[in-house]
């Protein structure tokens, strides 16, 4: 399977990864050769085979809805790259109305 630089660009955008031109080219050929090897899966007939998402079957796990202490807000906010008065600061998301 050949992965074109255009596919790489689209996948990179979905992945929220800014790639350099060099990375785009490298990933295009590396992903092509990896997927080519992976194509051997097509040799196996899997029609009607149930997919496995977890090796050990666990049904829905419930717990009592009890209130327990959370981590202190100050400790959590202290991990943020930029914070202000107990809030995490990010670039503006909405355009300001003029």
């Amino acid at each position: 399977m050949r992965i074109t630089p255009e596919v790489v660009e689209r996948v990179a955008r979905l992945s929220r990864l800014e790639l350099s031109a060099e990375e785009r080219a490298t990933f295009a050929w590396q992903l092509s050769s990896i997927l080519e090897y992976f194509a051997r899966l097509d040799r196996l007939a899997t029609e009607g085979v149930e997919p496995t998402s977890h090796a050990i079957r666990v049904a829905n796990v419930f717990r009592d809805d009890e209130v327990t202490p959370s981590l202190p807000v100050e400790e959590v906010v202290a991990m943020a790259p930029q914070a202000h008065e107990g809030f995490v600061v990010v670039p503006r998301v909405l355009e300001a109305e003029e």
């Binding site: 996948v11 979905l14 590396q30 899997t46 085979v49 977890h54 090796a55 995490v88 670039p91």
Partner: protein, 488 residues
């Protein structure tokens, strides 16, 4: 102090409070780190002050004749993808370079409660993605047996630390072989428990349906002791399973007489180094000599396990790693203009090439138009792999295979071809797909590099896996060999 280092914990424990203090034991290991880690580079962070403080507290308890917890004074290392309260947890990634978790992973918490003394955090392939520890965002770790060789990965720091006498035991994580393969390459014992045996709470997620925490140690008994401490249901991880935790060390000496050992044909085919093949088949003969019944079995889906694994693991990783967005913790790009560039540039600058490659591969496999052909297909093949194992375990009690197809490789040897690197885990990966317990024990040497035997068992049957590994280990002396580095 040199005489203390490299002795298993079960030999030292009885001496604690008599001719040996916890402080002496811990200092001996801190000395070894000082002496060897400049060459091996197993550690990303050494927590000497904390370790000394913990040792003091344990010695106080000894002085007061209080009963000692099961791992009292055991100097351990923890892979740096396990959260440690107040101690930075980098995952081997620049994106988490300064991340200091406000809590302990359950496995770490349980180790501490059992009295183990944490010496520090060990190096790994970034986000546990790799088989050589060369993908660390900081520096590669070296194999203590031959410093120009890789220690394996991704728990290469943990394996190298135990092999070099820089920790008595260590925690690792195993998604496709990341405990067993480095244990094999570094000549120590490494066990991946059944999926669900050990809580993953506080383990930085790579592929959640495959990740499992487990011990690395000098021998099988120490391995069983550490497993004992960390096993069991945890309400904070809903995939940790409510099953009884047996006494793992109690039945080690039960022997293998009459036990059925399956040798899967496909694990001895193309790609296996001839000397490794000999060593592993010799090991099987040792088990036979001890009374085990050896049978040939088949696992025809082996050749499909590798692509299946990479599709599933990368798909899960692409979703798990979406959380590194530069917002609430970790690295943030100074070049962000808006929300999109905040994400895309933070991730571009924070992640290394292998992590980017896997996020790309996973996103591709999950994207519209490719989902059916890749991700769903892989999940279906995963069912077939599981069925193959089920069929084997109708006939035999355990499987015996090589852990790694080769006895190690040089630094740089496989870094340019990702697919070659992926093949390093060809024998360990199927075990994760099926969620089974597996152990690697030393079974020989090729050119001064250790070789490992992998023993795989039924779900939640670590007892039998350990019993077989112990019987083999006790019948041989490979586990007593120490690397040239710390023989001095």
């Amino acid at each position: 102090m040199r005489e203390l280092v490299g002795r298993p914990y079960h030999e030292l424990r009885a001496r604690l409070g008599k001719d040996l203090s916890v402080r002496e034991l811990v200092e001996a290991y801190l000395d070894a780190i000082e002496a060897f880690d400049g060459q091996v580079r197993a550690y990303l962070t050494v927590t000497a002050d904390q370790a000394r403080e913990q040792a003091r507290a344990l010695d106080d308890r000894l002085a007061r004749k209080e009963p000692l917890p099961p791992l009292a004074g055991m100097p351990v290392a923890v892979k740096d993808n396990l959260c440690t309260r107040g101690v930075r947890t980098t995952c081997g990634s620049r994106i988490l370079e300064s991340f200091v978790p406000p809590y302990d992973a359950t496995a770490v918490e349980r180790l501490r409660e059992a009295g183990a003394v944490v010496l520090g955090k060990t190096n790994l392939d970034e986000f546990a993605m790799g088989s050589s520890t060369e993908n660390s965002g900081f520096f590669p770790t070296r194999n203590p047996w031959r410093l120009d060789h890789v220690p394996g990965g991704s728990s290469g720091g943990s394996a190298a630390a135990v092999a070099a006498g820089e920790a008595l035991a260590a925690l690792g994580s195993d998604t496709g072989g990341s405990i067993r393969q480095p244990a094999c390459l570094c000549g120590v014992v490494g066990l991946k428990p059944t999926y669900g045996r050990v809580s993953r709470y506080g383990l930085v997620a790579f592929a959640s349906s495959l990740d499992q925490i487990g011990p690395l140690a000098l021998d099988v008994r120490d391995c069983a002791l550490v497993l004992q401490a960390i096993s069991g249901r945890d309400p904070r991880d809903s995939t940790s399973v409510e099953v009884p935790v047996p006494n793992f060390a109690a039945s080690l000496e039960a022997g293998v007489r009459g036990l059925r050992v399956g040798v899967p044909t496909e694990f001895f085919g193309e790609g296996l180094q001839p000397e490794v093949r000999h060593a592993v088949l010799d090991a099987v003969r040792v088990l036979e000599g001890l009374g085990a019944v050896v049978e040939e079995v088949t696992l025809p889906t082996l050749e499909y396990a590798l692509p299946t694994y990479y599709l599933i693991a990368c798909a899960e990783a692409s979703s798990n790693l979406a959380r590194y967005d530069g917002v609430a913790y970790g690295y943030r790009s100074p070049r962000a203009r808006d929300l999109y560039t905040l994400y895309a540039r933070t991730r571009a600058e924070g992640f290394g090439p292998e992590v980017k490659r896997r996020i790309m591969l996973g996103t591709f496999a999950l994207s519209a138009g490719y989902y059916e052909g890749f991700y769903k297909k892989a999940q279906q093949v995963r069912t077939l792999v599981r069925r193959d194992f089920d069929r084997c375990f109708e006939k035999v009690d355990v499987l015996a295979t090589p852990t790694s197809p080769v006895a190690g490789f040089r630094l740089g040897e496989r870094t340019t071809d990702p697919l070659q690197m992926y093949l390093a885990d060809v024998y360990t990966i199927p075990v994760n797909l099926a969620g089974l317990p597996g152990i690697s024990v030393p079974c020989g040497f090729v050119d001064g590099l250790p070789v490992g035997l992998q023993v795989v068992g039924r779900p939640f049957d670590e007892v039998t896996v350990l019993r077989v590994a112990y019987a083999y280990e006790q019948a041989t002396d490979w586990h007593r060999h120490r690397c040239p580095l710390f023989r001095g």
